[in-house]
Symmetry: C2
Subunit: 216 residues, 2 copies
């Protein structure tokens, strides 16, 4: 049964692995499932064929036989529920791992994405510096809380899970900001995740798309 995901035809981050297809690639690599990738242009993302897969016109999407999904969280959870490797067997530990997926997406990621929005859309505005400082303060609040929770543990709740995958990928968007480095245990946590063979394979795969587009 072939799995097909969508990704940007032209990587907005120049192959740094920050687009959300990376989460799906990484999850599929963790559970050892092969997949195919259909590249879509920014124009095609807003056209009927893609909107039928994702009403919000975003990537990634996921197709497998007669199932079509969107939202990186929904897709990663689907993969985690159907293949061993991303969720613990114990019911309570499993529920906690899923809660960490939601914490990554609902509590930690929003101010981090907001930082990108400020940098992209408000750079020329008079309020740019002040707004960036406000957003960075909100990010630091969340990272401080996350850092205190993690302490010197390896992963958020026992073994590596889909919760760590989502959290690490949300944090990686901060790489160029210097903020992550203020929290050494969080830096070590993301580095630990990036060192996983599954992450490396997924990263190489998305980088190859950028390299091919650049040389083309």
């Amino acid at each position: 049964m072939t799995i097909t995901i969508t990704a940007f035809e032209t990587s907005p981050d120049r192959g740094r692995g920050l687009a959300r297809d990376m989460r799906i690639r990484w999850a599929l690599e963790e559970v050892g499932q092969p997949y195919e990738v259909r590249l879509v242009s920014f124009k095609a993302m807003k056209e009927p064929a893609h909107l039928a897969l994702n009403p919000f016109g975003q990537i990634p999407t996921y197709e497998e036989a007669d199932l079509a999904l969107f939202e990186s969280g929904g897709i990663v959870l689907h993969i985690a529920e159907n293949h061993p490797g991303l969720l613990p067997a114990d019911a309570n530990a499993r529920a906690r791992a899923i809660t960490w997926m939601f914490a990554a997406l609902s509590t930690v990621e929003p101010p981090i994405v907001d930082r990108s929005t400020v940098q992209l859309l408000e750079r020329g505005e008079t309020w740019y510096d002040e707004r960036l400082a406000m957003v960075d303060s909100r990010i630091r609040t969340r990272l401080g809380e996350l850092s205190r929770h993690l302490g010197d543990a390896e992963w958020l709740d026992g073994a590596f899970s889909a919760g760590d995958l989502m959290m690490v990928h949300a944090l990686l968007r901060l790489k160029s900001s210097g903020i992550l480095e203020e929290y050494p245990n969080l830096s070590a946590y993301t580095a630990r995740a990036e060192a996983r063979p599954a992450y490396q394979r997924a990263f190489a795969a998305q980088l190859a798309v950028f390299a091919a587009a650049s040389s083309g």
Copy 2:
């Protein structure tokens, strides 16, 4: 097995049901599970006992025997997975309903919450009007896409699900803005959800907390 959730001791929205404990109350009412509520002050939310339940110092939390969860998404999904009424039985339809939960939290809710942040924290700033207009534009993009998807359907994907519950609750925060009314099918959608007996019971329960605190 007693279920205990936490909620604000002093409702910041004066009983309008916008705090995230409402999602848990509503989900538990939909599946017919009784629950107890422990009210926490803003001070207590940041103290060790509560941080042990939620490292980010937020409500709601969920306790049931030796399981403790946080994040409204994680809790609602746990309830939906363990009691019939919030997820379809068919595996594909179930995965799609879960994807809608993530769409509500990751794609639709962030600009809506950002609007509250602007109103709360940036009201006195010189850029207030411009920023609010930018955020409202992002909200309208999402609502337009959601409205096109919903069309004249009753719910997002067949029967009412946890995906609708999360989406409706995210949209209800727009009630006082007038924006929701620009999309008649979304207004009708939220009204349909609010008319559900389970919603009404949950709403009355959270309103009673506010009423008791106000008269106390």
